[in-house]
Each structure stands twice: as C-alpha cells, then as structure tokens.
Symmetry: C2
Subunit: 180 residues, 2 copies
C-alpha cells in the first residue's frame, strides 16, 4: 500500500513524457529524413557527389593545358578528394543499409560533418576559382579561340553541381548533430 501512495511522488518524473511527446514527432521526423548517413537518400546523394566529382575530374584532365593554371590544378585535386570521400561514404551507407545499422551516433556524425565541410569548401573554392578564370578568358580577354573554354566551363559546372550535392549532406549532418 505504501508503494501505491508513493506512486504520485513519482509523477513529477512521469511528467516529462508530455514535453517528450511534443518532442518525439520531431525526433521521429528527423530520423526519417532522407539524405542522412545510412538512408537510401544519403546513398543517392553520395553517388551523385561521386559522379559529378569524377565528371569534373575527367573533363578537366581531358584538356592538355590545365597544369599551366593553378586554379585548374586545384580543381583536379579537389575533385579527386571529393570523389574518394564520397565513394567511401557511399560504401559505408551500403554497409549500413545491408546490416540495418544506424550510423547516426555522435562521433560518426561529427566526423561526417567535418569531412563534408572540408570537401564541400575545397570543391566550392576550386570551382569558383576555375569559373573566375574561365570567365576571365572567355568574356574579359576573348581568348576562347586558343583555349579549351568549353571544357573548362563544363568542369567548373560539374564541380558546382557536386558541391550542390555535398551541401545537403553537410547541413543534414550538422542539423542532426545539433539535434542530439
């Protein structure tokens, strides 16, 4: 009987579920967001990132004179880094999907966020530098006849699209890191 009386005293502890009920749908909603590590959407994002990084790399290296411009070399380096990072995380996503493991523990999320932030910044920076030089060559100096303007433009565009695909990964990882 004493234990029954003591139950109301436990009530303050039981009260939180109300706040928790308001919080739970958010938690559930966040868990379902496609694009996070370990979801099919996240895997698709990684594959898109990898595809466009490889495309930028291929188009840029197909031109013979890219090593003469530092920015184009940096685009090649950033595209290599981006493709390696994206394909590694794609394999990790495939593994997580196959064994149904949740990749969203705090430490993993932290590493994913840092890696995404670095690769996104590098890809964007090199894409901007390449685009700036391409615009300089084509619009400001009108030297397209003696340069591979189309290839340079295509490579920069591919790198930009790759960056567009990395940004959601980065923002979602940061968001779910903050949500914990």
């Amino acid at each position: 009987m004493e234990m029954f009386v003591s139950r109301p005293a436990v009530h303050p502890v039981e009260a939180p579920p109300l706040a928790d009920a308001a919080e739970n749908p958010l938690g559930v909603r966040m868990k379902d967001v496609q694009g996070m590590p370990g979801t099919p959407g996240g895997l698709a994002l990684r594959l898109v990132q990898f595809a466009f990084a490889v495309a930028a790399l291929g188009v840029m290296t197909s031109t013979s004179d890219f090593p003469s411009v530092t920015a184009f070399c940096s685009l090649v380096a950033a595209a290599i880094l981006q493709s390696l990072w994206s394909i590694s995380l794609a394999f990790l996503d495939v593994y997580a999907l196959l064994v149904r493991r949740c990749l969203r523990n705090r430490r993993a999320l932290c590493w994913f966020t840092i890696g995404d932030g670095i690769t996104a910044t590098l890809t964007f920076a090199s894409a901007c530098a390449s685009a700036g030089i391409t615009v300089l060559i084509s619009n400001d100096l009108n030297l397209c006849s003696e340069n591979h303007c189309t290839s340079f433009e295509t490579a920069a565009a591919m790198a930009f699209i790759g960056w567009f695909a990395v940004s959601p990964s980065f923002l979602l990882n940061l968001w779910s890191l903050a949500c914990r």
Copy 2:
C-alpha cells in the same frame, strides 16, 4: 499486484526523462554561447565582418583596372552586400543588448541563418574567384609588373577573413535553429 506486474511495461515510457536530463544542460549551454545574435560576441563578429568587407571593398576599388575583370567586380558587389548585411545585424544586436531582448526566436533565427548563408557563400565565391585570378596573374603568367597584384591579393585576403568571420555566425545560427 497486477499494477506492479504492468509497471515494467510502462518502463519504456518512463525511460525518456533520462535522455531529457542529458539534453537539458545542452540547452542551457547553448543559450550562453557567445557569437549568437543578441550577445556581445555576436556583435563583435558582426563588426569584424563589416570591417573586413569594407577593407576588401576599399582596397579593390582603389585599383583603377578592377572593372575589366568580372571576378573583381563580383568581389566588390559581394563586399557591398556583406557590409550592408553585417552592419544591419550589428545595429540589431546593439538594440537587443540595450533593451535586453532575446533575438533567438525561431523566425528571426531562420532569417539570420538564410542571410548569413547567402552572404557567406557570395563572399567566399568572389574571394576564391579573385584569388584564382590573382594567382593566375602573378604565378602562372608573371604579369605583376603591369598589374596591381598586391592590391588584388590584399582585397582577396580581406574577403577571406570576412568570410571566416561570417561562418561562425552562420553555423551558430543553424545550430541553435536545430536545437529548438
């Protein structure tokens, strides 16, 4: 007696308070972070952003031939946008500090995050493009004798430092938006 038996079934519902207790100090900790809107640290960040955007603008416009290069024009445009945005939010921070109002409601945070994201991206993009062209002129083509290499480099560096000052604002806003 039946109720005692049924209690373990209720346990999963009672478990959350533990997670909630672990979450509460995080909420308290986030409120104190300097650099968020309405804190002295946030105001300082805004003033640093404004100062470096104005410095980049001043150094770039002090050269006579910047309009001939699209990337340098974009740097000027981005620096103007950045300085206007930063000084507006600096005034808002001063107001919030004077009347001791918390600026961290959801809608305001959302606008601050979007604005910071856009200005940070534009500043970074134009700084990268300018840096790419400056490196092209000075290292790849060795044309520094007939160009204002030092000014271009200084302006790009100022824009980069401005971007470094915007990033924490953006990340903190996004973080506290996700924390709510």
